[in-house]
């Protein structure tokens, strides 16, 4: 008998004569304490995300590329990794071309194997979109795609993330239901709630453990 058959046989034998317990999931317990008026959602998200050192800027659908350029100048970032095939990637590229004197944009447009060393050693910042956010826990929802791959939100030390204000949801349960997550999950789905951190030495909180040291969220208020 295989290990699988042995394990399952043992478990089944132990359950002989029992019936599976009923599903009495009470959704009120995970939704009601975590509801916010629409006008409170940004404030709630902001409170939680700023408490863990996330930088948050309020801007608009038209102005955000300019804000990114300004933030890059302030931080003296020498380049920015973007997803060129996404709408926000194209909007940023257009703005960059129009300005002309900004640090270069890098495109994540080929398999990581082709440029892994550059990604790790020479990519100081990245910009990605988000699918929205969760006010209850202060989390961004990120579903990496072929156009905007997983490592964009992980390897570069500074991560800029765009968030539409209208896509801030109350709680994780609501997000799962509203977008039917159970019907089909992507290869990788993420909730990101701040820059990478650790308290493994003496419980002292330190930011910039293995992922981004800075998470900068641009909230587009009019979108």
């Amino acid at each position: 008998m295989s290990a699988k058959q042995n394990i399952l046989a043992k478990l089944r034998k132990s359950l002989t004569g029992t019936t599976p317990l009923a599903d009495n999931f009470d959704e009120a317990l995970v939704t009601e304490p975590w509801r916010y008026a629409p006008e409170q959602r940004i404030a709630q998200l902001r409170k939680l995300m700023e408490a863990v050192h996330t930088e948050i800027h309020l801007t608009t659908a038209a102005d955000w590329p300019q804000r990114v350029a300004q933030l890059m100048r302030e931080r003296q970032l020498p380049s920015l990794l973007i997803a060129p095939a996404t709408a926000h990637g194209q909007q940023l590229t257009a703005y960059w071309q129009q300005c002309g004197d900004l640090p270069p944009l890098k495109a994540y447009d080929r398999p990581v194997e082709d440029w892994k060393a550059e990604l790790f050693n020479d990519t100081p910042a990245s910009l990605t979109g988000t699918l929205g956010a969760i006010a209850a826990t202060g989390s961004l929802i990120v579903w990496p795609t072929p156009q905007e791959p997983r490592l964009m939100s992980l390897v570069p030390p500074v991560h800029f993330a765009l968030l539409n204000a209208s896509e801030i949801h109350d709680n994780f349960y609501e997000v799962q239901q509203k977008f039917s997550w159970a019907a089909g999950m992507p290869t990788n789905a993420l909730l990101i709630s701040g820059p990478s951190k650790t308290a493994d030495i003496e419980q002292v909180l330190a930011y910039g453990a293995h992922g981004p040291k800075d998470l900068v969220v641009l909230i587009l208020e009019d979108r």
Binding site: K4, I7, S14, L21, V112, S139, L191, Q203, A209
Partner: protein
């Protein structure tokens, strides 16, 4: 940093009592644990400020885990089907040796030399680092705490905070000695040193290994929580990802993880959520530009099916590994994690370890508790830990000829003499005539009680019966009243 210098971990010496005695005398260790546990308890209390909400959520967490266990074999098969459909290869292992064999064969198939590991307690059960090192394969821990203990040839002393027994000064010396960096006690700088060393390793690694916090049967999703990003690195950068987990980690529905996640991060760290919640449902698709080409899941039994066989002990498998029981345990806080000598310390360790290694190997585990009840009170999935400890105490002294074989190593503390004394004691207390006779002689012969009564008199004065028993005094009193 050679491979060899990272391999052996310090062997556990002596028995539990000797180790406990030594730990109690180590003031530095006690300070490190006391301050860490105090801070973790406070953080949890703040995160669950609404007791009403907390208690309802704990009840829901318990119901979800109990429901999952009530259909565990079906859910495991559903999980395997959905993961396979998603392109993940599922393996089953009854023992840690089998699990290591599976991991090794995957590594060999890729001719891999370097493995980077995110935090995984199941891989500690397997002693994976050691097994791989024997085969000339470097397996490096990437969680900061795990990295520190591996560097010092130690094992984790806490399941969430592996290096909590060390202070910054001790880490500073360790990094200075082992990594050749300048001595610094600044925690930010120490973390940046770890980041630098490990980034290189993430970059080079051929295989990434991780644990799993929840495996969702409905969607075939492996959910991992973490703050550092090393889990995402280990599961995203190397071309192969191997996840190892216990068979009990499965939940039925994706929505089930909503309350469990909240219970887990608030109980463990007092955080509303961890920095990253990483949900993995498959390897890289053809059109995707990164992520592992192969994802494997190893499902390990290692004694879990033994706990599962008994409906009371089955509750042990509710555990979501938050560590709150150890944070609140007066015994753990005083003796630290290493004293337990096994992978899982503290209250949860005392009830799960006997199933993994046999009760005979850890005979002191069930009794290393004051039964104060704190662990059961804080457990987010309501495991009745004190009741299970009492149950294991019973199993520990079960007669060898008992027809009920519950667990490996049961009866390891059985003593015929002790059993006989208890039988006599039971008889004395259940027969009124014998009891009166015993009371008469115990009071009259009270001077004969020896002054040294075994372990009792180490910390107490010897028990000395009163001159007259309460029964006798009451009878005399009533007789006097009748005269008046």
């Amino acid at each position: 940093m050679s491979t060899q210098s990272l391999i052996p971990t310090v062997e556990v010496q002596d028995d539990f009592r000797a180790r406990a005695h030594k730990a109690l005398g180590d003031q530095q260790l006690r300070n490190n644990f006391r301050s860490a546990m105090d801070s973790l308890m406070t953080k949890r209390a703040v995160a669950f400020s609404d007791a009403h909400e907390r208690e309802h959520l704990r009840a829901l967490g318990n119901a979800i885990r109990a429901r999952a266990l009530s259909k565990l074999p079906d859910l495991l098969e559903q999980l395997e089907q959905n993961l396979t459909r998603n392109g993940v290869k599922v393996h089953w292992a009854e023992t840690v040796d089998e699990a290591n064999g599976i991991v090794l064969s995957i590594i060999r198939a890729h001719e891999a030399r370097q493995v980077i590991k995110g935090k995984s307690m199941v891989s500690e059960e397997m002693e994976m680092n050691h097994v791989l090192a024997e085969q000339g394969i470097e397996c490096l821990e990437s969680d900061m705490g795990e990295f520190i203990v591996q560097l010092d040839h130690e094992k984790p002393s806490h399941i969430i905070m592996p290096a909590i027994h060390k202070n910054a000064g001790q880490v500073a010396s360790l990094f200075h000695d082992k990594l050749g960096v300048e001595y610094t006690k600044d925690v930010d700088q120490l973390i940046q040193i770890g980041r630098r060393v490990l980034r290189e390793k993430f970059f080079e690694a051929d295989v990434g290994v991780s644990g799993v916090n929840f495996a969702v049967a409905e969607t075939g999703t492996l959910l991992l929580v973490e703050n550092e990003g090393n889990g995402r690195m280990s599961t995203t950068v190397p071309p192969v990802h191997i996840a190892v987990t216990g068979i009990e980690k499965v939940v039925e529905n994706l929505r089930d993880v909503v309350p469990l996640l909240s219970l887990l991060t608030r109980s463990a760290l007092g955080q509303p959520i961890t920095t990253y919640v990483n949900m993995i449902s498959g390897p890289r698709k053809a059109e995707e530009l990164d992520g592992p080409q192969e994802v494997h899941l190893v499902l390990l039994d290692n004694g879990r099916s033994q706990a599962f066989a008994d409906s009371e002990l089955r509750q042990t498998l509710n555990c979501i590994r938050c560590g709150a029981c150890m944070n609140h345990c007066p015994v753990y806080t005083r003796i630290g994690g290493h004293t337990y000598g096994e992978v899982y310390p503290g209250p949860i360790g005392k009830i799960i370890t006997p199933h993994m290694v046999g009760l005979a190997k850890v005979p002191d585990h069930p009794s290393a508790s004051s039964l104060c009840g704190a662990c059961g009170e804080v457990c987010p999935v309501k495991i009745p830990i004190p009741a299970l400890l009492r149950r294991l105490r019973e199993e520990n002294v079960k007669a060898p000829d008992s027809p009920h074989q519950v667990m490996r190593g049961q009866g390891s503390k059985y003593s015929r003499k002790e059993r006989m004394i208890w039988n006599v004691w039971t008889r004395l207390n259940t027969s009124p005539r014998l009891y009166r006779l015993f009371g008469f002689f115990a009071t009259r012969l009270r001077q004969l009680v020896p002054s040294n009564v075994g372990p009792w008199t180490q910390n107490h004065s010897a028990p000395k019966p009163a001159a007259r028993s309460l029964h006798e005094l009451a009878r005399e009193h009533l007789a006097k009243q009748d005269k008046h």
